[in-house]
Symmetry: none
Amino acid sequence: MPTLIEARSKPRWERRKDARPQELLAAALDLFVERGYAATRLDEVAARAGVSKGTLYLYFENKEELFKAVVRENMVPPLADAEELINNFEGRSSDLLRLCIDGWWQRIGATKLSGISKLMMAESGNFPDVARFYHEEVVSRGGALLSRIIERGVALDEFRPVDTAMATRVIIAPMLMLTMWRHSLHACHLDPIDPDAFLDCLFDLLTRGFETPSGRST
Amino acid sequence: MPTLIEARSKPRWERRKDARPQELLAAALDLFVERGYAATRLDEVAARAGVSKGTLYLYFENKEELFKAVVRENMVPPLADAEELINNFEGRSSDLLRLCIDGWWQRIGATKLSGISKLMMAESGNFPDVARFYHEEVVSRGGALLSRIIERGVALDEFRPVDTAMATRVIIAPMLMLTMWRHSLHACHLDPIDPDAFLDCLFDLLTRGFETPSGRST
Amino acid sequence: MPTLIEARSKPRWERRKDARPQELLAAALDLFVERGYAATRLDEVAARAGVSKGTLYLYFENKEELFKAVVRENMVPPLADAEELINNFEGRSSDLLRLCIDGWWQRIGATKLSGISKLMMAESGNFPDVARFYHEEVVSRGGALLSRIIERGVALDEFRPVDTAMATRVIIAPMLMLTMWRHSLHACHLDPIDPDAFLDCLFDLLTRGFETPSGRST
Amino acid sequence: MPTLIEARSKPRWERRKDARPQELLAAALDLFVERGYAATRLDEVAARAGVSKGTLYLYFENKEELFKAVVRENMVPPLADAEELINNFEGRSSDLLRLCIDGWWQRIGATKLSGISKLMMAESGNFPDVARFYHEEVVSRGGALLSRIIERGVALDEFRPVDTAMATRVIIAPMLMLTMWRHSLHACHLDPIDPDAFLDCLFDLLTRGFETPSGRST
DNA sequence: GATGAATGAGCGTTCATTCAT
DNA sequence: CATGAATGAACGCTCATTCAT
């Protein structure tokens, strides 16, 4: 295990140095989520990480690369895990779908990471390079992942044959909706929504439509 | 009589003057939707309206007031119309609901005005004063409007007794979702969604849940 | 008397027209005194005079000419009157001096006109052309006026032979001081000063020094 | 030990850093005195200090704070010294008064610092926050200082019992007057006044009035 | 590696002045 | 004569980025 070796083989101050990027990424995540991409100031990121502004530039070329690193560090691993899960999963496709949605909720939707989704929806138009990156690394991978589950279900005759692209969107829609609500209506002082109840309700409604009559009877 | 002549054919520059605020509001709407609130530059608004930066300040006190005027000019009238519609409507509540949703789609959702909703979700946290204004003028009025329809349906025994606040949200959710998609996934170059099909589908699913057994049998 | 003829020989609306510059000058005086030269905005002057900004430029070439007109209209006539008074005065020089000082106090010092003196002391450095004009039209004429009185007193053996320039300053000093106080310490919320007592006191102190022994014994 | 070396000979840029605020304050003082508060441009301040506009904001939050710093740096210390002088002084109150006035003349009146007094008299009406600060830090402290001297003189039976507030003003008046003259009439190209002679003269006249008959005989 | 001082382009806003009507 | 819409230069202030130490 390289991580263990790495942890033991370096003197303490070196490990401190290794921690720098993580501290910066954590601070950057916080601020990107709080303020959005454009409104996040790099000196505030540095200050929150306890380093100087110049230090930030030792680890990240510029604001855009910092943001990409935040995405790679936080959004991509859950996707990779989900991909591995799909590759190795044996069981009913609806259970697999539920696993993935719950995993997304626990690791992204319910955490501040969901703020990244909101941010990208809001500002992708102003930062095309960032948008392209995010689309390649997150949006298309996440979409492909869901599509594979649906196609798996159809292939195993667990799901009715459906338009995969449309079905993918119908699944993602309530997830993103929740994300938006948690980050903006919250600010509008609306009474909070119960995410679990909401997810249950919509998940039930929407996925039920996919099931084959035989699958539903089970 | 000069007054009569003046009343019938104003001098060119005076007619321009009358049109200026509209031209500026149109340019501002375009840019706010394209770029968001913070990223919209007032000199670009002026340039798109064909005037200098200083001219904009003849008509609007500052950026915030310009934005408020855009909202008042574009978002509020449809709400007022809908309120009047509700006051005078005689017929089934589900028809009234459909009328309002279709009206929203035609006058807001399908137009660039939906970009204002997106913008507010994205940036309300950074501009509390604007957020407060938007919430008072649009969010709460729109919510109240839907709530009145639902309560009307319940009172007339057309709808099952439901939690009005939750039902309001369940109705608004897919509308906002569409809005977000039209403005951000579009930028992500995803294949476009068919809004009518999407709205039909979700409207059907969600409103069916409200109907009383007697209402459904009709 | 031309003024009387002028007033009767013109139709009413013509007299209104003639009043325009006066209304503008009055508004300009008010605002120059309230805010200073640089901080006075011409559209506010126009608004206070009840005309449009453009109209102001029909009567005054620019801000500087407007200010000069204010000075000519308000500061110069009292000086001219004083000059005439000196030319025709027969009596004791100390009485003449007292007359001039009291006249200054009543027509300038105690009125908002004193704000013009303050303004020039404060801003002459930033507006050399205005300063030059003011110096020629007001400062040097006023100084010359006082100097003539002193020289008259000396020539008639009423005053001791003194350094005229120095004496002039010693007389002007408390007058300006009062002016400054009325316009700035007042704003600092200091307890107000009694100008009459102050003037009496200093006038007494300072002028007594000029008198010849024979004059004093009277 | 690098810390020791560092303590003894800082790298050049660090020594510059320490000097920056002073350089900026010096440039700001110059320009505030030359042009007044409103007419002083911050980029000109920066340019005169040999730095860019942005650098100024590293050291001072905004124009107002820059001005306050100029006052604190320059006007307040002499006041503090005078307060200490009064606390420890043993001797005749008229000598103490003379010491304070001479100290003021040497450290403020005769220097460009007197331009700050002039500036405040001229512009306090337009900048109420600055005026409040200046009044608290300078005007009231300076007044209190003089009042204490007068009260000391009265308590020790060196001065006649007088209205302290009025006496304070009578002392301050010629000082401010000189200040105004040095900064505005100077600009008007009047022949310069001899400040020492002027101060002597007025000091003599005014303070003589305070002395008790016994004090005068000394 | 780490610092933080320095930069400068750019934004929102103001206002004296012009000019077509 | 009177208007007021239009201008544009200039100000205070911000912040991503650079670089000497």
